[in-house]
């Protein structure tokens, strides 16, 4: 055994010499952006959508701002939180990036946010929607020009109760943090608007077969609609089985923000026409900003942009404009964040937006209906918009944050159990028809 131990030594020397040789490099005239996302693995479609949006923004300036070259370092975490920490460490300690962006899932965002605390490097969140990143676990280096899970859903719930008069909703959802936050926002809006009950049923991810979950929906108990609170392959499977079991003739189907999103919508049956959802984008937006972005995107990548692509485009654009504002000097990271707060993003494709006190976006929310276009393809047709929606909805931030984060069994399922604080606000949403 001793002999074997000794034989190891040349190898150790080899490896050590490899490590001591410097790997990190970097020119003075360069600004490094670390792009941490899922570029391989099951969720790689998100990484690809983000990359397409971000690259479009970078190519507009030819990877150069204020005389500085912009270098993007892609780090692949496969949406594995464990790997995300490792890759974040690599970006910070080895590549010495000036800012980290990307991030897809809520848990990934919170994990990386937790890791980056105290590192004093801006984290610009492109898609991760867990609200606590810019609320209860916020610190000044986190910037999120995108969204939280509750942000569009509070509007959606309020609209269904107030405008359509829905009282009882049956929700089936994926059992993890993002759907919790989505239905949390939905319940607050729904009960505030006069809704009575949201029954919540959670299933593990991925589920695949939904026949028993759909079959046990109690159609005789006066539910106004069923809300599927899931996305991706689960949403496609759910919607297909929903139609196969003939449910579309019996009760309306609603979706969370991502249920009917591209590219999944293209795989869904046409029978779901009429289903409502709420998001920060709509396919028939007619603002010049959106049309310009959409056409540029289609020209570059050959397909329509998804919300994730637009979010990445806006995030990257905000970073680039902040660098420009600072004349290329990003050595003071707090000033970098301050510059991101200052740059004008009122020309963002999806809606004018600005950042609140917690660096989270205040922006339009769109109520959408799945519709058929002239080619017979499904698309998300915007029908109403609400302007300047904050991550706190219509609530006072202190009151909002005095309640715990949304989990599987909070907020409660009925209006009667809802804290009275959350049932009334000074000023609620105003729904503007889409054509105006």
């Amino acid at each position: 055994m001793k002999k074997q131990a000794l034989r190891m030594i040349p190898l150790f020397v080899l490896v050590l010499s490899l490590i001591v040789s410097p790997i990190a490099h970097g020119a003075e005239n360069e600004i490094k952006i670390g792009f941490l996302s899922a570029f391989t693995g099951v969720f790689s479609s998100f990484g690809k959508m983000q990359q397409e949006g971000a690259v479009l923004a970078l190519e507009e300036v030819d990877y150069e701002v204020a005389g500085k070259k912009i270098e993007v370092i892609y780090a692949d975490d496969q949406l594995d939180n464990d790997l995300a920490v490792l890759r974040a460490a690599q970006l910070v300690e080895q590549d010495q990036v000036d800012v980290i962006t990307g991030l897809v899932s809520g848990d990934e965002g919170l994990t990386v946010g937790d890791f980056m605390r105290g590192k004093d490097i801006p984290v610009v969140v492109m898609y991760s929607a867990s609200e606590d990143m810019t609320m209860r676990e916020w610190y000044p280096f986190i910037v999120r020009p995108t969204w939280t899970g509750a942000q569009p859903m509070d509007v959606f719930g309020y609209w269904l109760a107030k405008e359509l008069g829905y009282k009882k909703i049956y929700m089936i959802g994926e059992d993890y943090s993002y759907p919790y936050n989505q239905i949390g926002g939905f319940k607050r809006g729904f009960f505030r608007g006069g809704g009575e009950e949201v029954t919540t049923v959670w299933h593990p991810v991925p589920q695949g077969d939904f026949s028993s979950l759909i079959a046990t929906i109690p159609l005789d108990q006066g539910y106004d609609a069923v809300l599927y609170n899931g996305a991706g392959s689960d949403a496609i499977a759910f919607v297909k089985q929903w139609v196969e079991l003939g449910m579309h003739d019996q009760i309306p189907l609603l979706g969370q923000s991502n249920t009917f999103e591209r590219p999944d919508l293209e795989s869904m049956p046409k029978e779901i026409v009429g289903s409502y959802s709420a998001h920060l984008v709509a396919d028939n937006l007619a603002t010049p900003e959106w049309i310009e972005f959409r056409d540029k995107f289609v020209e570059r990548w050959g397909h329509l942009p998804s919300a994730a692509s637009e979010f990445a485009y806006v995030s990257m654009k905000m970073i680039l404009r902040a660098i420009d504002l600072l004349d290329g000097d990003v050595s003071d990271k707090m000033a970098f964040v301050e510059a991101m707060r200052q740059v004008d993003m009122s020309d963002a494709p999806r809606s004018p937006l600005y950042l609140d006190d917690y660096n989270a976006a205040v922006q339009n929310v769109y109520i959408r209906q799945v519709s058929l276009d002239e080619n017979g393809e499904l698309y998300n047709k915007g029908i109403y918009r609400v302007e300047e929606v904050s991550q706190f909805g219509p609530y006072n931030p202190e009151i909002y944050m005095s309640y715990p984060e949304d989990v599987g069994n909070y907020p409660p399922d009925t209006r009667a159990q809802m804290p009275a604080d959350l049932l009334q606000v000074e000023k609620d949403y105003e729904f503007i028809p889409f054509e105006q």
């Binding site: 190891m8 790997i23 080895q94 059992d175």
Partner: protein, 333 residues
């Protein structure tokens, strides 16, 4: 004798280089070596079972994760301070390993492999689907290193030294075990359990004890891991991690004492270096693994061993022979 002396000097040199690493290595090198250390503990856990007992266990990663979850539940969520959560984690994992060991050690070969696979997967699925206690996908985050005996382990350099000291201690203990009568008896059991039983050795119990000891190594790795990364999630104990650890053991050389450690060093550095070069890094690493398994079935150490002993690589030699034979045939035509 001169050869031995040279090796000893080299060994001390490597040790000194490792200890002095924080003075010349970058911050990221320290992070990476800390990762190597906790994965090496896990690889030692799997590798020792293979080397001493001839058993491939796919449950070890679950012990690694169980330690993290226990500390997360007691230390992070309930605020218990060191060393209580860590001690409970160790005791809990040992108990878990003992109970599971009673069951799995009744089996051999493929059945053992499948049984440990099932147990590992049950633990993973439980962690992923239990949202009330273990928080499902999200896992538990917010592990923070602490100060012990006046040493501030929030400093990554101190943390690295602490982990390195534990690894050296762990290797020393493992070396003692390997060369003890217990270790030798295990070697006998690996070669022929029936013969050892007929000689009067309590084969079953010796194997259970080995299983518990290796679980302890996985547990220590898990403890180092959670404080280094700050989180524990189901992905920490998923199948791909188990396979990666097994590959480390094979890569280093499953027959060798140092095999798991060498495998951990190489696998982690391959990932670090190649992931910067190409987005297809998983493909490249996979091809390297395949090449090693095909060309050097005894791992990197086995390969070096062969070279040192002047033995030609059997596969390469055969391949070369076939080509040269073909060439001479062609030229004669």
């Amino acid at each position: 004798m001169g050869k031995k002396r040279l090796s000893l000097i080299l060994g001390i040199a490597v040790l000194v280089l490792l200890i002095l690493l924080p003075f010349y290595g970058s911050r990221y090198t320290i992070t990476t070596f800390t990762r190597i250390i906790y994965l090496a503990f896990l690889a030692l856990s799997v590798g020792t079972l293979v080397r001493q007992g001839g058993m491939i266990s796919l449950t070890q990663t679950a012990f690694f994760g169980a330690a993290g979850y226990i500390i997360g539940l007691l230390g992070v969520e309930r605020g218990w301070v060191f060393p209580l959560p860590e001690l409970i984690a160790i005791l809990g994992v040992l108990l878990m390993a003992f109970i599971l060991g009673l069951v799995v050690m009744r089996t051999h070969g493929t059945v053992f492999l499948m049984l440990t696979l099932a147990l590992g997967q049950i633990c993973w699925a439980f962690a992923r689907q239990n949202t009330s206690l273990l928080h499902g996908w999200a896992g538990i985050r917010g592990f923070r290193p602490f100060t012990v005996l006046g040493i501030d382990f929030t400093n990554p350099n101190n943390y690295y030294w602490g982990a390195l000291a534990l690894l050296l201690l762990g290797l020393f203990v493992l070396w003692l075990i390997t060369n003890s009568p217990f270790g030798l008896a295990l070697n006998g059991i690996r070669e022929s359990p029936k013969r050892m039983a007929s000689l009067g050795y309590p084969v079953y119990w010796l194997r259970v004890i080995l299983f518990v000891i290796t679980a302890l190594y996985a547990c220590v790795g898990g403890i180092i891991s959670v404080y280094a990364t700050g989180i524990i999630t189901p992905t920490t104990i998923q199948m791909s991690r188990t396979i990666l650890i097994l590959l480390m053991v094979i890569l280093g050389g499953s027959r060798y004492f140092w095999g798991p450690v060498v495998g951990a060093v190489i696998a982690v550095w391959l990932d670090v270096l190649i992931s910067q070069m190409t987005p297809r890094y998983n493909t490249v690493i996979g091809l390297i693994f395949v090449a090693v398994v095909v060309l050097a079935p005894n791992g990197i150490i086995g390969l070096l061993d062969d070279i040192r002993n002047g033995v030609k690589l059997p596969q390469l030699k055969r391949w070369w022979n076939s080509i040269s034979a073909k060439q001479s045939r062609d030229s004669s035509v």
